[in-house]
């Protein structure tokens, strides 16, 4: 006997099929995984941004102090330039050290602490 019902309401069948979710899947912990990845990525960017703000603030303060010393206290510019040039190695070294300490403190340490906190939470 012809199974008429099988094809009776083609509209209803098409509707059912169109509304049926495809069989794709994501891992059960997808949301946690994404949140952790995003958190890690943006923590790094945030720390770098803060480090740059600190650096800019320090440079700004130094520039301002030098400007004030030269304008208000009438310091000799030539004397200071000669001093800078003759001690360039030392000054560059000290500056690099300060920048490195600041970078380690504001970025590297914070990032590694953040990562170890994440690992500790996972255990």
């Amino acid at each position: 006997m012809l199974d008429e019902e099988k094809y009776m309401d083609s509209d209803a069948l098409v509707d059912q099929v169109l509304k049926q979710a495809p069989a794709y899947s994501l891992p059960a912990d997808f949301a946690t995984m994404v949140a952790v990845n995003v958190g890690r990525r943006f923590a790094w960017q945030q720390y770098i941004r803060e480090f740059l703000i600190y650096l800019a603030a320090i440079i700004g303060i130094v520039v301002l102090s030098v400007g004030m010393a030269l304008i208000w206290y009438d310091n000799d510019l030539k004397y200071w330039l000669d001093f800078l040039i003759s001690n360039l190695d030392w000054i560059a070294g000290i500056n690099l050290l300060v920048v490195f300490v600041l970078f380690t403190d504001r970025v590297l340490l914070r990032y590694f602490l953040y990562r170890s906190a994440l690992k500790g939470r996972d255990k």
Partner: protein, 194 residues
């Protein structure tokens, strides 16, 4: 939690709120991305990329549209870009835009009489083998229940095109069912004569 409140919480740095947002919209993103990409490993990476973009751009979300529409737009654009990139590199293992006419031709499955579940499976396969624009529009309209206006916003296609894709896809699927029904009738008639 309301979407507006959720956005505020995420923007204030609440990681749990972001996790909630991901779990709330991962089904939508998976369906949009999945219907375009269709390869499991690629799909997962692209879904992750979508949520990273959502997080990065959330501060630009002004609430002019629904959050779901905004996320679906990002998912659609990200998936399309991924497919285009792969196409350019020649890594794509399937034809992105097979002609719908090809699908409308008879094929082997139609020569067999199919059970109800098999018909459903067959129709689902047909949907999967439709051109990418049809699959996307079908998913957004029927599965995620977006309006025409929202689909236009998500895909950037004109409303007429969206309607035409939906009608053609529906007509094609209906035509297949009716063809199968006719075929079954003929088979039974032949059995009686035989």
């Amino acid at each position: 939690m309301e979407d507006g409140e959720l956005v505020k919480q995420v923007l204030s740095g609440n990681n749990n709120a972001f996790r909630f947002l991901v779990s709330k919209y991962q089904r939508l993103v998976l369906h949009v991305v999945g219907r375009i990409i269709r390869q499991q490993d690629e799909m997962e990476d692209t879904c992750q990329e979508v949520f990273i973009k959502v997080f990065r751009r959330l501060k630009n979300f002004r609430g002019d549209s629904k959050l779901s529409t905004w996320i679906a737009t990002i998912a659609y654009n990200t998936a399309i870009t991924a497919v285009r990139k792969k196409n350019r590199r020649g890594e794509l293992s399937y034809n992105e835009t097979p002609a719908l006419v090809e699908l409308e031709k008879n094929n082997e499955t139609e020569h067999k009489v199919l059970e109800h579940n098999e018909i459903r499976k067959y129709l689902l396969q047909l949907i999967e083998s439709m051109p990418v624009n049809y699959r996307t529009v079908i998913t957004l309209y029927h599965l995620e229940e977006f309006s025409y206006k929202e689909i236009v916003e998500i895909t950037g296609m004109p409303e007429g095109t969206v309607k035409s894709y939906l009608n053609r896809a529906r007509a094609m699927l209906k035509g297949k069912i009716e063809k199968l029904a006719r075929l079954e009738q003929n088979n039974i008639f032949e059995d009686h004569v035989g």
